[in-house]
């Protein structure tokens, strides 16, 4: 209980300070948190009982947005981990691909939105492409790094016991690389949220990002703030779920090795 208290006291205190400050300032651009909460309730939680009080906006904008986020992230994870293991275990392949990877990951993904708009139609596929391209790199590079650093003695042990290739990859390389892969997945998850919003700012009227833009254009500041708060809540919730999964999957690690600082790998070093 005290731990929970400690974790949230600063947050709660800031909300209270914010409330007092905004009420005193009485600035339309900065509505007090109570007003934002009311706007959020009105926007998303005032639906009919048979929809669990969720409004149509939730089904038409929130859920598609979050699905795209998760979908893009999952696709990037699948590509990043499989490609990363292949590249990490082959020096030749890495030497060939290294400069290309470094170049591609240096391109800011939002800059590619117009390109994806041309390549794909406006809509889901273009938005997915933006997210996948943007969040692939931390996963890919961390997986390469993890797969490269499999202990030599573990290789020799597997070789001596004639462990088949599938068991070597799934049973030795992946678990060895898992801590680094998870570090990459976490970075990518927060990036996914950013790119989800960015991808919804052009050529669409669907999604949290576009809703945010509409509220801003109509000077509907409580709704705009509600959207911003919602993004924070989604990011926090997703990260919490991922951390819980990571704790389960990496439960085998000795305690002091848990929660190592996140390090972004770079290719070719």
């Amino acid at each position: 209980m005290t731990k929970f208290f400690k974790r949230w006291i600063v947050f709660a205190g800031l909300v209270v300070v914010w409330q007092i400050a905004t009420v005193l300032a009485d600035d339309p651009f900065f509505p007090p948190p109570t007003e934002i909460a009311e706007a959020a309730r009105e926007l998303w939680l005032s639906g009919p009982p048979d929809q669990l009080f969720l409004t149509d906006i939730v089904f038409e904008h929130l859920i598609p947005s979050v699905s795209r986020l998760m979908g893009g992230w999952a696709i990037a994870a699948a590509i990043g981990i499989s490609l990363g293991v292949a590249l990490g275990r082959s020096r030749t392949a890495l030497e060939f691909a290294g400069p290309l990877l470094t170049f591609m990951r240096s391109i800011p993904p939002p800059a590619l939105v117009p390109v994806f708009l041309l390549l794909f139609n406006v809509g889901t596929s273009m938005q997915l492409a933006t997210i996948v391209f943007g969040v692939l790199w931390p996963i890919l590079l961390n997986t390469i790094d993890g797969a490269r650093s499999v202990d030599t003695l573990k290789y020799e042990t597997s070789a001596v016991f004639r462990v088949p290739k599938w068991q070597w990859v799934l049973g030795v390389v992946l678990p060895s690389a898992a801590p680094k892969i998870f570090a990459g997945l976490r970075v990518s998850l927060s990036l996914s949220l950013v790119l989800m919003v960015v991808s919804e700012l052009v050529g669409t009227d669907n999604g949290i990002g576009s809703q945010l833009l509409v509220a801003q254009r109509e000077f509907d500041f409580p709704n705009m703030w509600a959207g911003i708060v919602l993004l924070g809540v989604i990011g926090y919730a997703l990260n919490t779920v991922l951390l819980a999964v990571e704790h389960r999957v990496l439960g085998w690690q000795p305690k002091q090795e848990h929660s190592k600082p996140v390090q972004l790998a770079t290719a070719g070093d």
């Binding site: 292949a86 590249l87 275990r89 082959s90 020096r91 030749t92 392949a93 202990d151 030599t152 003695l153 573990k154 290789y155 020799e156 042990t157 070789a159 001596v160 016991f161 004639r162 462990v163 088949p164 290739k165 068991q167 070597w168 990859v169 049973g171 030795v172 678990p175 898992a178 085998w252 690690q253 000795p254």
Partner: protein
């Protein structure tokens, strides 16, 4: 006695751009079925090279090795290794039980694996630790897990690379006795590579003494000690003391000039072995990625 392992005229030279290093030279010996043979030699003399050629991890440049009559080319089917560095050889993400089962997945079903692993863990006295992770165990217990993993594999030959060099003296005695017990009960054929003279005499049915680099066999000594040995009485018996003296003399232990020479040679050998291992790593990494 039939020869389980037959090493004939084995030689290996490490090649590199800036020269060559001869690690072993004309090694010839056999290990009979059910025999425990200790290979003892000065550090850096080529013991690990010998071990790696027997495992099929290094292809020797000359000579050949046969395991129960089959020439070794690549990693042989029924050979198990216990490495010195148990903490790196065990898989930290698997429980003790699953570590022991790991090499059996290719050949056995789940139920048989379970049974084999349980049996091997019982044999090494770890029946209670099956659900633990290796890092939750002491060093000695972790090495027991490695031994159980090797035994569950039911190898024709059990290779041990300095198996007890990383545990404290007390644990070392316990593990030596465990190995002797297991060998008696399972009639396993064992080749132990060590640099510890006392250990080689205490464990072995025979002791092979290797020369300085490049390694060749200087002596093949039969150990005339009773099958059942005791850490205190065996070690104070005349036969033991005489034999350990003989091995020590063959190894030139305690002679300052000889030691300096050995140390220098060991440094050179270590450098070469490391280079070869790096090359090997690369080759295998490619191999795994392309297949």
């Amino acid at each position: 006695m039939t020869a389980m392992l037959d090493v004939a005229g084995l030689g290996h030279t490490y090649q590199a751009k800036d020269g060559a290093h001869r690690a072993i030279d004309g090694l010839t010996f056999t290990v009979g079925a059910g025999e425990l043979v200790c290979v003892v030699g000065p550090s850096g003399c080529g013991k690990s090279t010998l071990l790696r050629t027997i495992c099929g991890l290094v292809k020797p440049t000359e000579g050949g090795i046969s395991l129960h009559g089959n020439k070794i080319d690549g990693v042989p089917e029924d050979l198990a290794v216990v490495f010195q560095d148990y903490s790196r050889s065990l898989f930290p993400w698997l429980s003790v039980q699953r570590n022991v089962e790991f090499p059996l997945r290719r050949s056995l079903g789940r139920k048989q694996r379970r049974a084999r692993a349980a049996e091997a863990l019982e044999l090494v006295g770890l029946a209670k630790a099956v659900g633990k992770y290796p890092w939750q165990l002491s060093g000695g217990m972790q090495q027991r897990v490695s031994i159980a993993r090797a035994l569950a594999y039911q190898p024709a030959l059990l290779l041990m690379d300095e198996p007890f060099a990383s545990v404290d003296a007390q644990t070392r005695f316990e593990l030596e006795d465990l190995l002797l017990k297991v060998k008696r009960e399972q009639n396993t054929t064992v080749l132990v590579v060590t640099h510890d003279i006392d250990e080689s005499v205490y464990l072995g049915d025979r002791v092979l003494v290797l020369s300085n680099s490049p390694a060749s066999v200087v002596a093949d000594l039969r150990v005339d000690l009773p099958g059942v040995r005791d850490q205190i009485t065996t070690r104070e018996s005349d036969a033991f003391v005489t034999l350990r003296g003989e091995v020590a003399r063959l190894l030139n232990v305690g002679r300052p000039t000889a030691q300096r020479k050995v140390a220098a040679e060991a440094a050179v050998a270590a450098k070469w072995a490391e280079a070869e291992r790096a090359a090997l790593r690369e080759a295998h990494a490619e191999d795994h990625a392309t297949n």
